[in-house]
Structures are given as structure tokens and as C-alpha cells.
Amino acid sequence: MTTLSQAVRPGTAPDQPADAAEAPVRGLWRQGLVVFCENRLALVGLGLFVLLAGICFLGPLFYHTDQVHTDLTAVHLAPGEQGNPLGTDGVGYDQLGRLMLGGQTSIIVGLAAGILATALGTLWGAVAGFVGGWADSAMMRVVDAMMSIPSLFLFMLLAAIVTPSVSMLILIIGAFAWLGPARLVRGEALTLRSREYVQAMRAMGGTGGRAVRRHIVPNAIGTVIVNATFQVADAILYVAYLSFLGLGVPPPAANWGGMLSDGLADTYSGHWWLLYPPGIAIILIVLAFNFIGDGLRDAFEVRLRRR
């Protein structure tokens, strides 16, 4: 059973005395962290993410390659040849350096689009659920209508219309991936709006905006954060899909999906180093976010906590 102190999240209840709220709040975070750390897969996922992000963002500082200029005299070199640990691709780019560069795009787009989608969805869902009535119906019909269109189709259409770039991919994916979070948060908001503390705040003259901002969203934060991790994983896959279909960022930019697509085109050539590394990298990062999400779900789900 959820107590009042458990239901309220850190810094979200100014109506409570600050010193009274701080103690249990710190305990909640610590408890969540303990639960998260007890989930070994979640730790593996976190470790994987840190490792991959480290390789992609810090790796180029130590391993310098030219990822701007092509070199047609050094195409399809096998791993180890001419100082290329993972070989080179079809235009002479060092494959390991490209993997780092591609990873940066995939992770940046994945994180940014995931966060954008979560923020949009959370706001939309919280407002719809809290306001209710015809506004809720209208807002959720918009969500239903957009959900009825296959998202990959929409992404492809938009990517074909605009010039793909990192920021554009973030906008495109974020603009359509918010529908899931909107539904989830709207469900939470419907429950939360009838809680006593929300009603008490309204009775004291609190506005709807304040209720959404200070009570509804903070109390749904567990769902939101857990969902955000999966949104990131989804966004990384969407980037891969789009690039696989030739609608990713144009060269010399790279991303793992585009690299995988190029690798598959070389499938019969025996150039395995163009296929395995980006494919495995995508699998690892998506799994990492799924594991992290599972761990966060355990940490935020009160019923799963050790009391």
C-alpha cells in the first residue's frame, strides 16, 4: 500500500515542511539505487552503455582517423592491414574510427529523440489526463489518429522530404515517438488527479498548471523515466532503420544503421568487418537500454521494493 510519503517524490511537495519531506526522500532514492544495483542485468546494461559511450566519445581522442576524406587507394582493407585494426570500408574510411563516429550519431540521436519524445508525451498525457472531459477526448484522439499510421512509414516519408541531418533526425523521431509516453502518462494522470493531496491543493486555490507541474508529472516520474530508457532504445533502432533504408545522415557522417546497411550490401564479398561490428554495436546498445529500463522499473515500482 502506498503511503503519502512514498507517493510524493523529491522536492515535489512544497506544501509539506521541507525538513519533514527530505528524510524519507533521500531514503527513497537510496532504496531505489539499492534495488537497481541488485538487478545484475541492469548493472550490466549500465556498464555496457558507459563502455560504448566511452569508446564512441572518448575513443577518437586517443585513436585518430580521417573520417572526412575518402581514400580510394585503401578500400576494403582487412583488419590489421596498414594499421587499420578493424579494416577499412568501401571508400577507405577506417572502420574502427567510423564505428566511433557512427556511435556518436546513434547515441546522440537516440538520447535526444528519446528525451524529446518523453518530454512531449509526458506533457501531453499529463494535461489530457488531468483536465479530462472533452479536452482529454480531443487530445487522445489526436494520439490515436497518429498512432494508427505506421511510425516507420511516417519517418520514411519525412526523411524523404527533408534533408536528413542529426538535428533533423532528432526532430523527426521525437515528433512521432511521443505518442506512447502520452498514453502512459495520461493513464497515470487520471489516477493521480483524484488523490487527496491534489484535491487539497485545488481546494486551497492551486491552479491546474501547478497541479500538473508539481504533482501529476512528479508523481508519474517513475513511469516516465522507465519509459524514457525504452524510448532511447527505440530511437536508436529508428535511426538504424532509416539509415538502413538509405534515409540516414549523408556521408561523411555515419551511424551504425547506415554502416550495417553498407555491410549487408557487402555480405557476399566476405568483408565481415563491415557487417559484424555495427550490427553487434546496435544489439549491445539496445540491450543495454532495455536492461537499464528493467532495472529502473524495479527501482521505481514500489511493489517490487524490499520493505
Binding site: 576524406h69 506512447g180 525504452f230 533502432l237 557487417l275 550490427g279 539496445v286
Partner: protein, 601 residues
């Protein structure tokens, strides 16, 4: 609470894993050898060919139905008046064996061409006569707006008099004196005799009459025939299509599926079919086709560009792998009418600099795996050969010279940065008319999706140009022609800079490779609005002058003037056919397939 997304993300990861695993399996298989089951039709009297299902049968093409498979299918059933070969051995490139008429006799100072039909018969035994030619002429004259090959000023507009002398002879008098080679190759190539004694009616139940002899009647007949041609499911049952002049007859037709051609026993031409049956099998895509080819289940197919490295494997399976060179050129279109960047393209030195940064020989060899060759000018290289000799290009790959050219015209070259105009003005050492100080060389290339080699080629070109501070943005779209139309500077659609649509060749010529449709000021396919009075004059000369050097003069001028940037010209396709299949070579540069020449060893 768990959202629907984790499952989807995991499924996605599983999908990626599957792709990698599948790739791993294929990588493991790639390059391997071993015996396969002998599929296809080897050793029999039939051949199975990878071929898209044709969807048009009437010898008068309609807009939207001009795909190559329709032309090949049409030729198999209804021979054109003239067939061409580009080996330089025949007068006006006319193939004397396959053509249904003798070469035209020219009189009246070049204005009148008299044509005599050979002794040919329809499959029902009736002779092919000038009535069948007149029938074709009546239909296209009355319905030219519905004819895909019609161009204002071309056939039949350019004919002053069409007269039939007897059953075997007719003459054409033109309004102007044309270069006979041009007129024969690019105008008479459209004529196909049609069985007037079967088709001259306006309904299936009507009796054959002389209906098409009047414009109103010709419209009715044309509508009737067109409607029948738009109904593919009846192709193999409709009585209309059972009377043919070609070496084949239609035995079976499945809409969007397999088509079977059977040898026409009453064929009157000299190139009689050597096989009894040709099965045309469509595939949903390149991968599907290549998998079946690898499995040995078809006798003739093609190797997708992405799988060219499998040549050795296919050879080990008993296939001959052979590039099919087209009578084509490939280029990067420049938009001279772009209100912002058009002024840049109008500067010859800038075009020359950019051309010198395209390493055509290396791109052809490395990125296209040797299946492309440099384009140096508007006239394709000798038919059947591997493109123009790169050594003969006016502007070879020379980054140093390109840099020098830019700097000598007032540009501050910033390698890997942004090259800008430092000295505006129209003087010889200045940037040129309309180019303001500080103007940067930022250009967008609209290219095609779906071609790995094209993507790599533009990565290379972008890299080379960036070295001189020319920044290209490559935008790939499914249909680059559709989004880069010919335009006026004031139009919203005129914002494109450069367009590429040559992943399988930009332009395929008829027998006479003149440029009236491409590079003349008012040419219909002059998408970049290039305009040069000297070029117009030379193009006109190719059409109207009998001087054989006119084509060379035109080629030499445009090779130097760069109405477009010349790009590596890919082969039409890389064919793979069973080693025992004879007669496939030479593959026709004008993209026809003559199944009647094919036979098994």
C-alpha cells in the same frame, strides 16, 4: 508498469541480430564454391530469363508505359520497320537482317525518302504491305497527344507529305531538309507496321473496315486498341494480339507474373528463333533475383551492383558474367536557373574546376568495380565498348589545376573550410558576373537512394571538393528527376543546385546520339536550363546538316563547355547467363534483347 516499447525495442534488436546472423551465414557462404542443382532450362529448347512483367503490347507506346521491358516484349511480337545496329558496318546504322524494309532512297535534295518493304508476312499468312504502315501513320497522326514518343515538331509534325506508291513502296517528304542519318535513326525508328486487316475496327465485334483512314475513325480505333492494351489479363486470349509480325507469339501471360513466349512458326524474317520457348520471370527485387540466380534456377539474369564481387562464384556455377554496355552517357545536372547558385554554374572556370575534382577513372574502377567508364562528352563512346577513353577527356582529374583556376579567378581557397569569393567583378581575374564578395561555394546534390555505389561515389566527390573548400550536401531521394525539374528562376521548384539520376546511366540515346532533347536551349530534358547559342547551332547542324563531322563538332564543343558535369557511366546491367547459352552476345547497346538469336550449345 511496462510500456509497449520495450518489447518492440527488443524485437528490433532481435531483428538486427537476425540481419547480422543472416549476413554471417552469407558471409560464410560467400565466395565458396560447390556444385549446385542445375536449374533453369539448360539442355532443353527453352530459356528462363529474369525479366519484369511487361504491361503494354500495342506497338504505339502510351505515356507511362515506356519501360524497357515493354519495348523488348513489343519487338518480340511486332517488329519495327527498321532495327539498328551500332557497329558502324551498315548504312544509317540500319540492321539489314532484322529490318522489314530496305534502307530509304533519298531524293529531292534530301527532303524525300522512298522506302520499299521487304517480302514479309503476318503470322496469319497475309503479306505486310504499305497499308499496314499507313494504318500506323493514320493512328499516330490523329492521336499524337496520346503517343508517348510524340514531340512537338517531330514525327508526324515534320512530314509535309506521306504518300503510298504501291503495296511495297511509300515515300515521306519532310518539311525541311534533315540530316538523313538523324531522320532515319531518330524518327523512322518509331514506325512499326500494324496488322490493318485485323485491327482497323473500333470494337471486338465490329467488322474490319477502313475506319482509321479518317481522323475521327482513327481516334476510335486508337481508343479501342489502347483499351485492349491496358487490359493485360487478356493478352494471351484476345484475338487482336494473335496476329504478329515478330519471331515470337504470346503463349501465356500472367499479370504481374510469368510470361511465356513461343516460337512463331509462321515468322517470315530471316532471324528465325532457335529455341521453342522463352519464359520471362519477374522478381520482386534485386535480392530475390540474385538469390535465384545463385541457386542456378534461371538461365539469364543480372548481377546487382552490390553483388558484383560474386562474379567468381557465379562463374564457378557455370554462368558467364558479362557487362551490358548501353548507348548512354551519365552526368551531374547543374541548375543554371537557380536564383542563388545559378550565377556560379554560369562561370565556365567554376564548372571546369569542379569537373577536375571528379576522378572518373578511379571511381569507375574502385567504386563501380570496373562496371562504369568515364563520360567525356555528350556522344557515347564507340558502341559496345567500355565508355569514352578517359585519356580523351578534356578535363581530367587534377585538383592542383582546379585550385589554381579558382585562385586565379578571385577565390580564396580554404581547404576543408569554406572557399569564398574575394575579388568580385567581371574582369578576367575576378569571380564573375553576379557573384558577390564573400559568396561561398555551398552546393546541394540531389541524388538517388537505393544505390550503394552512388552513395560511395558522392562520398568520394564530396571529399575531393571539400579539399578545395567546396562544400557539398548530398541529399538522397527516391526519385531525383521528379524533384529537380526544369524551372524558371522565379519558381519555387528552382531551388535545387545539382541533380544526379545516373545510377544506371543518365541518358540512353536512339541510334543517332544528337542532343536536341538534352542540351538545346528549348530541349525537353534540359533540366538545368543550359543555354549556349553556339551549342544550339551545333545541335541544329547534327539534325539538319548532312555533314558527317557535325556530330563530332557538337561533341567536342559540349565536352569542353560542360553543360553538365560528366560522370562515370555505369553499364546498363551486368548480365549473367549459362555458359551453354549462345547468341546472347553482343548485348544490344540500345537495350533490346533478341531472344531469337539464343540457342543452347
Amino acid at each position: 508498469m511496462r510500456s509497449r516499447f520495450p518489447g518492440r525495442a527488443l524485437r528490433g534488436a532481435v531483428a538486427v541480430a537476425s540481419a547480422v546472423a543472416l549476413g554471417a551465414g552469407l558471409v560464410a557462404c560467400g565466395g565458396g564454391s560447390g556444385s549446385s542443382k542445375a536449374g533453369g532450362s539448360q539442355g532443353k529448347d527453352a530459356v528462363t530469363v529474369a525479366f519484369r512483367t511487361p504491361n503494354w503490347i500495342l506497338p504505339i507506346s502510351a505515356p507511362g508505359f515506356t519501360q524497357g521491358e515493354n519495348a523488348i516484349f513489343g519487338q518480340a511480337l511486332y517488329r519495327s520497320l527498321y532495327q539498328y545496329k551500332l557497329d558502324g558496318t551498315a548504312q544509317y546504322n540500319i540492321d539489314p537482317q532484322r529490318s522489314m524494309a530496305e534502307p530509304p532512297v533519298v531524293s529531292d535534295g534530301g527532303r524525300t525518302l522512298t522506302i520499299t518493304l521487304k517480302d514479309n508476312t503476318w503470322s496469319d499468312g497475309k503479306p505486310v504491305t504499305t497499308k499496314d504502315i499507313q494504318f500506323w501513320y493514320d493512328l499516330v497522326t490523329a492521336n499524337k497527344d496520346k503517343w508517348a514518343s510524340y514531340r512537338a515538331g517531330g514525327l508526324p509534325d515534320n512530314i509535309a507529305q506521306w504518300s503510298v506508291k504501291d503495296d511495297k513502296t511509300f515515300s515521306i517528304t519532310t518539311k525541311e531538309v534533315y540530316n538523313t542519318a538523324w531522320f532515319v535513326d531518330n524518327q523512322l525508328n518509331k514506325i512499326t507496321p500494324m496488322p490493318e486487316h485485323v485491327w482497323d475496327k473500333d470494337s471486338a465485334t465490329a467488322a474490319v473496315s477502313n475506319l482509321a483512314s479518317t481522323p475521327e475513325g482513327a481516334k476510335k480505333v486508337f481508343d479501342f486498341l489502347t483499351a485492349a492494351s491496358k487490359d493485360p489479363k487478356t493478352y494471351d486470349s484476345n484475338e487482336l494480339w494473335k496476329v504478329n509480325s515478330g519471331p515470337w507469339k504470346l503463349a501465356k501471360y500472367v499479370p504481374n507474373g510469368e510470361v511465356t513466349l513461343a516460337a512463331q512458326p509462321n515468322y517470315s524474317g530471316v532471324d528465325k528463333p532457335k529455341l521453342a520457348k522463352v519464359v520471362l520471370r519477374p522478381f520482386t527485387g534485386d535480392d530475390a533475383e540474385f538469390n535465384v540466380l545463385r541457386a542456378g534456377d534461371i538461365d539469364y539474369g543480372y548481377v546487382p551492383a552490390a553483388n558484383l564481387s560474386q562474379e567468381g562464384y557465379l562463374k564457378s556455377k557455370g554462368y558467364t558474367v558479362s557487362p551490358w554496355y548501353g548507348w548512354s552517357v551519365t552526368y551531374l545536372q547543374l541548375n543554371f536557373n537557380n536564383p542563388k547558385t545559378g550565377v556560379l554554374f554560369k562561370q565556365p572556370y567554376l564548372r571546369q574546376s569542379m569537373q577536375m575534382l571528379i576522378d572518373q577513372p578511379t571511381i569507375s574502377k574502385v567504386i563501380w568495380s570496373g562496371t562504369a567508364a568515364p563520360t567525356c562528352g555528350p556522344v557515347p563512346a564507340k558502341p559496345g565498348t567500355n565508355g569514352t577513353d578517359a585519356a580523351g577527356c578534356v578535363y581530367s582529374f587534377d585538383p592542383a589545376k582546379a585550385k589554381e583556376l579558382l585562385e586565379s579567378h578571385g577565390w580564396q581557397v580554404t581547404p576543408d573550410g569554406q572557399t569564398t569569393c574575394q575579388t568580385p567583378g567581371t574582369g578576367p581575374n575576378q569571380c564573375g558576373d553576379g557573384i558577390a564578395a564573400g559568396t561561398a561555394l555551398n552546393l546541394t546534390v540531389t541524388s538517388q537512394t537505393g544505390f550503394a555505389a552512388t552513395t560511395k561515389m558522392f562520398a568520394e566527390i564530396k571529399s575531393q571538393m571539400a579539399k578545395l573548400g567546396i562544400q557539398l550536401t548530398i541529399k538522397e531521394v527516391p526519385d531525383s528527376v521528379a524533384v529537380t525539374p526544369a524551372c524558371k528562376p522565379t519558381e519555387a521548384t528552382c531551388s535545387w543546385d545539382m541533380s544526379f539520376f545516373g545510377s544506371q546511366g543518365s541518358w540512353y540515346y536512339p541510334a543517332f546520339a544528337s542532343g536536341e532533347r538534352l542540351f538545346a536551349t528549348d530541349a525537353p530534358v534540359n533540366l538545368g536550363s543550359y543555354s549556349n547559342p553556339e551549342a544550339d547551332k551545333l545541335i541544329e547542324a547534327t539534325q539538319f546538316s548532312g555533314d558527317e563531322s557535325a556530330l563530332k563538332a557538337y561533341n567536342d564543343f559540349l565536352a569542353k563547355d560542360l553543360p553538365v558535369l560528366w560522370m562515370p557511366n555505369p553499364v546498363f546491367q551486368v548480365s549473367a547467363y549459362r555458359a551453354g547459352l549462345q547468341g546472347v552476345e553482343p548485348q544490344d547497346p540500345m537495350n533490346f534483347m533478341y531472344f531469337q538469336d539464343w540457342s543452347w550449345k
